[in-house]
């Protein structure tokens, strides 16, 4: 898979800024779109799900967000999954190290992994390596 676009779904502007920086430094060819809550992201996906060019390859999803949090997003996303014109990989990126939340994330089979914040240079490198391994 060629990584072209990543969606960052997170309400924390400092996190958005820092993570963008990390990603762009590692991969100048990757385009990043940000959404400040689950609602905005799901609405976008609902309206554009048929157009592969407008969809990301990867979604980095925060859990604690206003208006619509990560869990609700995952529930809504589950009803869309399979209708997309391409494969999208969903990763949870959260500051929470609570086992109950990490386990709950595993209940969604379309969630690839649970990444604990912050996404450092090293973590992003590992993530890219992982993508390559996935083929």
């Amino acid at each position: 898979m060629t990584l072209k676009t990543i969606f960052l779904v997170d309400d924390d502007f400092v996190y958005q800024f820092l993570t963008k920086k990390i990603i762009v430094e590692a991969r100048t060819d990757v385009n990043i779109e940000t959404f400040s809550n689950g609602q905005d992201a799901i609405e976008y996906l609902k309206s554009e799900y048929k157009i592969p060019a407008k969809l990301p390859e990867v979604i980095f999803l925060d859990l604690a967000m206003p208006i619509m949090d990560g869990w609700q997003f995952l529930k809504e996303y589950g009803t869309l999954n399979g209708k997309f014109g391409k494969q999208i990989l969903v990763y949870i990126v959260s500051s929470s190290i609570t086992p109950s939340e990490i386990n709950r994330a595993k209940e969604f089979d379309f969630v690839q992994d649970y990444i604990i914040k912050p996404i450092t240079k090293q973590k992003f490198k590992d993530f890219i390596q992982n993508l390559t391994d996935l083929g």
Partner: protein, 382 residues
């Protein structure tokens, strides 16, 4: 055909029957409390055990009505039902609390059997009783213990929930700015560029300010939990609302909200004043903040007594939200639901803490565009 018994044989048979009866009566008197009354309930026989437990002498009991040992514990219907049963010629069974001559109370498992004449009409009542005072005491101790255990479990469940909430706060509200700081430090160490370092440094303030604000709010929420008996006072609700109306005067005027009250359920409540003011202020503030731009805003504040709780309802016709979806989350720290510039997600979190620390609950009901009803069950009254 049998040969008829001789006179001698009949006497022997009757004599044997009498002796058997005597032995049975003796055995019964050894084990049970026995009394016989006429159909009006006047005592015509009481055995030794009856005298012992009731602490009356036999001569004091004979001719007296059985009510002499009534403890007044059972409702009138209880004895009405008993009399109906035995007057109808049927056996009655039940546990009765009686009062002895010295005022001490005792419980007896009782069976009353009416003796019937040839027309099946009762002529006397025989009561056979067993002392179950000890069992009853144990029962009530057990009941008390069970109730204590239930209360303890309930308060543990609340504490557990608060711990979970606290874990959530640490995981999300505190750990996420921390993770930003960690990342910024790492990036500052890595970079060679002075401009980049400066840019990162500026972000530091944003994050530390946020951290400090979160800490201050957390401390405020937790400090509130130290409430003493002396903090409780009789709160006059109409007066309190009038006072808050003055405090919020400018806000109310600016947003053109009308506040209606209904304190017909009750007007006064024993509650810490700073809590009741904080609860009402936060709820009214929320109703003002999330008013609908399409309607003239109305807020209704009412007292209620429901499910054993004295509570307060704050209802508005504002933006509302789907509580089926958001429910519990409404009361989380820093959880906001509307794109409002001043939404901070602290007020409801704090008042939930306050209410729960005093043994109450808070819940919200609403639908999008149909306003919100917040029910605060404040104190348990039964």
């Amino acid at each position: 055909m049998e040969t008829p018994l001789s006179k001698n044989e009949i006497i022997v048979a009757i004599d044997r029957a009498f002796r058997e009866l005597e032995s049975q009566k003796y055995a019964l008197d050894q084990s049970a409390i026995v009394a016989i009354t006429d159909i009006k309930g006047n005592i015509i026989y009481a055995n030794e055990q009856f005298c012992q437990i009731s602490k009356y002498g036999l001569e004091e009991l004979l001719g007296k009505n059985h009510r002499i040992i009534n403890s007044g514990y059972h409702p009138r219907e209880f004895f009405q039902n008993m009399w109906q049963t035995i007057s109808g010629g049927k056996v009655w069974k039940g546990d009765i609390r009686n009062k002895a001559k010295d005022g001490s109370l005792y419980w007896v498992a009782t069976t009353i059997t009416p003796f019937l004449n040839e027309n099946n009409v009762p002529t006397m009542f025989v009561s056979i009783r067993f002392d179950i005072t000890r069992q009853k005491k144990l029962e009530s101790v057990l009941e008390l213990r069970l109730k204590e255990r239930d209360n303890m479990l309930q308060s543990l469940a609340v504490k557990n929930k608060q711990l979970e909430d606290f874990c959530y706060i640490i995981s999300h509200n505190l750990r996420s700015p921390l993770s930003n700081l960690m990342l910024m430090l790492e990036m500052m160490e890595d970079t060679e560029s002075e401009t980049e370092r400066k840019e990162l440094f500026q972000k530091f303030r944003t994050v530390t300010d946020y951290l400090q604000e979160t800490f201050d709010e957390l401390v405020a929420a937790i400090q509130f939990q130290n409430i003493n008996q002396s903090d409780y006072e009789n709160i006059d609700l109409p007066q309190t609302v009038d006072h808050l109306r003055e405090i919020l005067g400018a806000e109310i005027e600016k947003s053109e909200v009308s506040i209606e009250t209904d304190f017909s359920a009750y007007k006064e409540i024993l509650y810490p004043k700073k809590y009741i003011e904080s609860i009402l202020l936060n709820l009214i503030n929320n109703s003002i903040k999330y008013k609908s731009p399409d309607r003239k805003s109305k807020i209704r504040i009412a007292s209620y007594i429901e499910n054993g709780y004295k509570g307060i309802l704050v209802e508005d016709n504002g933006l509302g939200l789907n509580t089926d979806v958001y429910g519990e989350k409404l009361f989380r720290m820093r959880q906001t639901f509307h794109k409002h510039p001043n939404a901070r997600g602290f007020g409801l979190f704090m008042i939930k803490n306050q209410i729960e620390s005093l043994g109450g609950h808070i819940k919200a009901l609403g639908k999008v565009e149909e306003g919100l009803k917040v029910y605060a069950d404040l104190i348990k009254i039964y």
